[in-house]
C-alpha cells in the first residue's frame, strides 16, 4: 500500500532516510579505559582523555571494532578491511576535544540491507554505511536559570552510526525499519537497543515529492528522536508540513529540526546562517584500522541466528503461521521464550498462548517479556495440561489468570482448585441427564427443530460441572440424548 499525502493539487510521496546512533555494548569507552554503564554519578566515568585534557591521546578499544564488524555482518554488509578515523570539528560544551573522532571517507562498514515484512509484502531497505564514532557528553539545561551543566560520563562512549538509504516511503516503514534494526543489534549483542536511555537514537531525513516523480527534493533532518512512535509521528507531521509549504508556493529549506512530542510538531533548531563546516581530516593521533580477512571470518563464524533466519526456521520447524513467526522473532527474548515453551510440545498451541494470552497480559501491565510474571517453563506446563486433556482451554484461561496473579505453578492451581477436566463418561452422563430432565420445555423446542439450542444445553452442563467437563464429550452425549 503506497503511503500518499493528498494535497490540493496532487498526491505526494514521502522519501525517508534514517540515521541511527547505536551505542556499542562494551565495558570501556571507544578510546579510553573509563566505564560506560548508564546512570553513574556525574563526571565519574570520565578519564583525562574523555575530558579533553591537554596532551591526552586516544587508544582504540579492540572489542568495539569487533562489535562494529559483527553488526556489519548482521546487516549483510560489506566489511571494509581498511578504515580511517577522522576528526569532525565543531564547538559544543559537551564535546570536550572540540572535535568528535568519527569515520568519514572510509567507514568500517559499507553497503548492506535490512528486510522488512510489511502487510503488503517484503521490502528491502538499503544500508548506506555504518561507521564508528565517539558519543558526546550531556548538557543539562534545567538545573540553573543562567547556566547549562555539563556531564561528560557519556563523552567517548562508542557509537555506531548506521545510515540507511532514502528507501523508506512511509512512517510505518520507518517504524518497521527501526524496530528491525533494533532487533538485529539486540540479537547480535552489539547494542541493547534501549531508546529511553539513549542507547539507540534516531535522526530522520524527510523530503516529499509529487507522486510518481523520482526527484530528490530538499530534505529536513529531524534530530535525536527517542522512540519508534515519535519517529513515525515526526515523519508524518514533517511530511505534511512540507507538502503544505510546497502547495502554498514556498520552498523547503535544508535544516535541522527538532520533534516536540508534547505538541506533536517539528520545529527549526538552527538557522541556516550558522551552517556547519566540520573540517574533517584524518586524526593524526590514530592510525588506520587494517583488518585481516581472518579477523572478519572469525566473527562471521560466531554470529547468532538472526531474525530472518529464525523466522524461516520457526515456520518450518514449528509449523507456525508466517505472521505468528514474524511476531515471535521480532524480539530475541520473545523468540527464546517461545522456543522454551514450544520445545517438545504442541508448538501452535504454544505460539497461541504466547502471542494472544501472554502478550495481552504484558501489554496490559506494560512489561516486557523478560519481566513476564510467568516464566516460560510454567507456561509450558500449562500447555501440557491442555494437550493432555487435564484441563480444557476454557479452564486454562482461569488457571492462566491465577498464574499471573500468584505466580503459581499451573499444576498446583488445578490441583488446589480441583479444576481437572471431567472425562469420566458416567459423571458427564449424570450431568447431561439432569439438565435434560430439568428443562423439558427446551428439549421440546429442540426436538421441534431449534437446533441452535444445543449451545445453550452445553452451557448448562458446563455450569453444572463448574466448566470442568470435557466439552467434546458433553457435546456428543447431549446430541445423542436430545435426539433421543
Amino acid at each position: 500500500m503506497t503511503y500518499l499525502i493528498q494535497g490540493r493539487t496532487n498526491d505526494w510521496e514521502v522519501v525517508i532516510g534514517l540515521e541511527v546512533h547505536a551505542q556499542i555494548i562494551s565495558d570501556a569507552k571507544l578510546f579510553s579505559g573509563a566505564a560506560t554503564s548508564f546512570g553513574a554519578e556525574p563526571n565519574s566515568q570520565v578519564s583525562l582523555v574523555d575530558a579533553g585534557m591537554p596532551g591526552m591521546l586516544p587508544v582504540i578499544n579492540e572489542f568495539c571494532i569487533q562489535q562494529a564488524v559483527r553488526t556489519g555482518l548482521g546487516l549483510d554488509a560489506k566489511i571494509n578491511l581498511h578504515s580511517v578515523f577522522e576528526r569532525k570539528n565543531y564547538f559544543y560544551p559537551d564535546l570536550p576535544q572540540g572535535y568528535q573522532i568519527s569515520q568519514y571517507l572510509h567507514p568500517i562498514v559499507g553497503e548492506g540491507m535490512v528486510r522488512l515484512d510489511m502487510p503488503d509484502g517484503t521490502r528491502e531497505i538499503g544500508v548506506e554505511r555504518l561507521h564508528m564514532e565517539q558519543d558526546a557528553g550531556k548538557s543539562i539545561h534545567d538545573q540553573d536559570p543562567n547556566r547549562t551543566f555539563i556531564d561528560l560520563n557519556r563523552s567517548g562512549v562508542a557509537l555506531m552510526e548506521i545510515v540507511s538509504k532514502p528507501d523508506l516511503r512511509s512512517p510505518e516503514e520507518a517504524g518497521a525499519y527501526l524496530r528491525k534494526l533494533r532487533a538485529i543489534v539486540q540479537y547480535l549483542g552489539t547494542c541493547d537497543g534501549n531508546m529511553e536511555q539513549g542507547s539507540l537514537r534516531c535522526d530522520a531525513n524527510v523530503s516529499v515529492r509529487p507522486s510518481g516523480s523520482d526527484e530528490l527534493r530538499t530534505r529536513a533532518e529531524i534530530k535525536n528522536i527517542n522512540s519508534v512512535r515519535f519517529v513515525m509521528q515526526a515523519i508524518e507531521y514533517e511530511a505534511e508540513r512540507q507538502v503544505d509549504v510546497y502547495e502554498t508556493g514556498g520552498s523547503v529549506v535544508q535544516e535541522t529540526r527538532l520533534y516536540d512530542p508534547d505538541r506533536g510538531e517539528t520545529r527549526s533548531m538552527r538557522s541556516k546562517e550558522d551552517a556547519h563546516d566540520y573540517r574533517y581530516f584524518p586524526d593524526p593521533d590514530l592510525l588506520p584500522i587494517d583488518l585481516t580477512p581472518d579477523f572478519v571470518e572469525e566473527i562471521k563464524k560466531n554470529l547468532p541466528e538472526l531474525p530472518d533466519a529464525k523466522k524461516v526456521r520457526f515456520i518450518s520447524e514449528y509449523g507456525v503461521t508466517e505472521s505468528d513467526a514474524g511476531i515471535l522473532v521480532a524480539e530475541q527474548e520473545t523468540a527464546k521464550y517461545f522456543e522454551e515453551v514450544a520445545l517438545g510440545r504442541d508448538a501452535k498451541l504454544a505460539a497461541n498462548w504466547v502471542i494472544h494470552e501472554l502478550f495481552g497480559v504484558l501489554n496490559k501491565v506494560g512489561k516486557g517479556i523478560s519481566d513476564s510474571p510467568i516464566v516460560a517453563d510454567k507456561l509450558g506446563n500449562l500447555v501440557d495440561l491442555i494437550s493432555n486433556n487435564v484441563i480444557s482451554s476454557r479452564i486454562a484461561k482461569d488457571v492462566f489468570e491465577e498464574m499471573v496473579a500468584k505466580g503459581k505453578d499451573p499444576g498446583v492451581i488445578v490441583e488446589e482448585k480441583g479444576l481437572k477436566q471431567i472425562t469420566d463418561a458416567g459423571e458427564i452422563e449424570i450431568a447431561v441427564n439432569n439438565v435434560i430432565a430439568d428443562n423439558a420445555d427446551q428439549v421440546k423446542k429442540f426436538r421441534e427443530g431449534n437446533q441452535k439450542l444445543v449451545g445453550w444445553f452445553v452451557g448448562q452442563v458446563m455450569k453444572k460441572t463448574q466448566g470442568k467437563a470435557n466439552p467434546q464429550m458433553v457435546n456428543e452425549l447431549l446430541l445423542e440424548k436430545l435426539k433421543g
Binding site: G52, M53, P54
Partner: protein, 494 residues
C-alpha cells in the same frame, strides 16, 4: 658561578657516582644559577623547592645504593609544554592560566623515573608556535649570547627557554619539543646540542599538542654524549600513545665510538638556498671537510622537493593545530572570559587567551581544512609530504646520514623579522623537511658567525637511526672543538 654548573651531564653523573658532591649540592648551585639568571626570562615557573626535595630523595637513593636511573640527581629544566603533575603548565599561553595538571606527561615522568631533578618549566613560544621565543605570553627569552651592540638576541624557538637555560649554565640539560625545528633551531642559536628523535621514539602523552603528526620530544644539552644520556631517559614505548613506536631503544651512549670510517654522508644540493650567507656556506663546507678527514665519504645527494617543505609544513601544522587547540574553550580548565552567551564566551576566551601568532595559525588551519579548500591545500600538502619522505628514502639508499646547516642565519635581535610571518618561517627551512618525514636529526654547535654568534650543523638520518646520529655528531663535535661560551657567562664584563 660555581664550577659545578659548568659540568656536562656525563661529568656530573660521574661526580655523583664517585661522591665528589651530592645531588643537593649540585642542585643548590643550579638553583642559585636560576635565581641569578632571571633576567634571561628562561623559566615560566621555577620549582626550586621541589628540586631540593627531589635532590634529597636522589641522595637518599644513592646512600642506599639504589640510584634510580641514568640521570639520578641531575638538575634539568623541562619545557612548559610537558604537563607536570601539581605544577603549573601553560605552554606559555594566557589561555592555560592557572592550569595545574592532575597528571604527569610520559616524558617528564620518564625523566623523573631516571632520577633527574626538575628545576622548573621553561619559557617557549606560545603553544610551540614560533622560532624566536617572542610569542610567549610570559615575555621574550633573551639569548645568553650577545655582541656588544646593545641589542638582545632571540634564543630561537620554540624551545627558547630550554636552549637559553642550557647555554647559560642554569641547567645541565633541558627537555624540549620539536615540531618543525623547535629543538634544533634554538639549540643552534644558543650554541648547544639539540636532538629531535624519530617520530614515535618519545611518547606524546601529556605533551601539549601543537601538530600531532610532527611533535616530538627531545633533549637540549651541552654535548652530544649528554644528548644520548638524556634521550635514553626520555624515550621508550608508551601504550597510551597510539603513535608510539615499539622499536627497541638501544643504548645510545654506547653508539658514541668515535669511529665513522666508511660512513657515507649526503650533501643535499637543494639546501644551498638562494641568498645563503657565505658564513653558513663556509661552515657547511668546513663540516664536510672535517667528516671527510675523519674517514667518512661525502656524497652529493638530491632532495628535489626541499623547497616545498616549508609551505607544506605551513599547511599541515596549522591544520592540525586548529583542531588540537579547539579544546581550549574555557569550559574545563584555563582561562575563561565570562560572557552572556556560550558563543561569546568561546570567542572572547579564545580571542583574548591566544596570542597573535597562535590566532593566525588557528585561522590558517581552519581555512585550509574548510569546505572547498581541503583538497587544494591539505590533501595537496599531504601528497607533498609523501614526495618529501620519498626523497629522503631514496637518499638513504645511498648515504648513512645527511649533513646540512641547521639555520640559514644566526640569532637575530628581539623585534626583528616580526612584521612578515613568512620571513620568520624561513628560520626552519633546514629543519622542517626532516620533521615532515619524521626523521631523527641533531644539531651541534659548529662555529661563530661574523658577528660572533653561534651557528650549528645539522645531521639527519633514517628512521630509528639515532645511533648513527650520535656517533657522527660526536665526531663532528670533537673536530669542531667549539668551546666559546656565551657572553652572558662573563656578564660581569658586560
Amino acid at each position: 658561578m660555581s664550577e659545578l654548573t659548568e659540568l656536562t651531564i656525563a661529568e656530573a653523573r660521574d661526580g655523583l657516582v664517585n661522591r665528589k658532591f651530592s645531588s643537593v649540592e649540585l642542585t643548590d648551585v643550579h638553583i642559585r644559577a636560576v635565581e641569578a639568571a632571571r633576567d634571561l626570562n628562561a623559566f615560566v615557573t621555577e620549582t626550586l623547592d621541589l628540586a631540593i626535595e627531589r635532590a634529597k630523595a636522589s641522595d637518599d637513593r644513592r646512600a642506599k645504593g639504589k640510584p634510580a636511573g641514568g640521570m639520578d640527581g641531575i638538575p634539568i629544566a623541562v619545557k612548559d609544554l610537558f604537563c607536570t603533575e601539581g605544577v603549573l603548565t601553560t605552554a606559555s599561553s594566557h589561555i592555560l592560566d592557572g592550569f595545574i595538571p592532575p597528571y604527569e606527561s610520559t616524558v617528564s615522568q620518564n625523566l623523573r623515573d631516571a632520577g633527574s631533578v626538575m628545576l622548573g618549566k621553561t619559557n617557549m613560544d606560545e603553544f610551540a608556535m614560533g622560532s624566536a621565543n617572542v610569542t610567549s605570553f610570559y615575555g621574550a627569552v633573551k639569548n645568553p649570547w650577545y655582541v656588544n651592540d646593545g641589542k638582545d638576541r632571540v634564543p630561537g624557538g620554540s624551545s627558547g627557554g630550554s636552549a637559553a637555560a642550557v647555554a647559560a649554565n642554569i641547567s645541565l640539560g633541558a627537555a624540549g619539543s620539536d615540531t618543525g625545528g623547535s629543538i634544533r633551531q634554538p639549540a643552534s642559536f644558543c650554541g648547544v646540542v639539540g636532538m629531535k628523535p624519530t617520530y614515535g621514539r618519545c611518547s606524546r602523552w601529556g605533551m601539549v599538542a601543537f601538530a600531532s603528526s610532527l611533535d616530538q620530544a627531545g633533549p637540549l644539552t651541552r654535548t652530544v654524549r649528554d644528548a644520548a644520556i638524556m634521550l635514553q631517559a626520555m624515550a621508550g614505548h608508551d601504550s597510551k600513545d597510539s603513535t608510539s613506536s615499539t622499536e627497541p631503544v638501544p643504548n645510545f651512549e654506547a653508539s658514541i665510538t668515535g669511529e665513522i670510517k666508511g660512513l657515507k654522508i649526503g650533501i643535499p644540493s637543494e639546501y644551498r638556498i638562494d641568498g645563503m650567507s657565505s658564513e653558513i656556506e663556509g661552515l657547511w663546507s668546513q663540516g664536510v671537510e672535517m667528516l671527510k678527514d675523519a674517514g667518512a665519504e661525502p656524497l652529493e645527494v638530491s632532495l628535489p622537493h626541499t623547497k616545498y617543505a616549508l609551505p607544506t609544513y605551513y599547511i599541515v601544522a596549522p591544520a592540525e593545530a586548529s583542531s588540537n587547540l579547539a579544546r581550549y574553550d574555557g569550559v574545563r580548565y584555563g582561562l575563561r572570559v565570562d560572557a552572556e552567551t556560550l558563543d561569546e564566551m568561546y570567542e572572547t576566551t579564545r580571542g583574548e587567551g591566544f596570542g597573535q601568532e597562535v590566532r593566525r595559525r588557528i585561522m590558517m588551519g581552519a581555512y585550509v581544512l574548510s569546505a572547498g579548500y581541503y583538497d587544494a591545500y591539505y590533501v595537496k600538502a599531504q601528497k607533498l609530504r609523501t614526495l618529501i619522505l620519498k626523497d629522503f628514502s631514496d637518499a638513504f639508499k645511498k648515504v648513512d646520514a645527511i649533513l646540512t646547516p641547521t639555520t640559514p642565519f644566526a640569532a637575530f635581535a628581539i623585534g626583528e623579522k616580526m612584521d612578515d610571518p613568512v620571513q620568520m618561517y624561513i628560520n626552519d627551512v633546514f629543519t622542517v623537511p626532516s620533521s615532515l618525514a619524521g626523521l631523527p636529526a641533531i644539531t651541534v654547535p659548529a662555529g661563530l658567525s661574523n658577528e660572533g654568534l653561534p651557528l650549528g650543523l645539522h645531521l639527519i638520518t633514517k628512521p630509528f637511526g639515532e645511533e648513527t646520529l650520535f656517533c657522527v655528531a660526536d665526531v663532528l663535535e670533537n673536530l669542531v672543538s667549539f668551546h666559546t661560551k656565551p657572553a652572558y657567562l662573563s656578564k660581569d664584563a658586560r
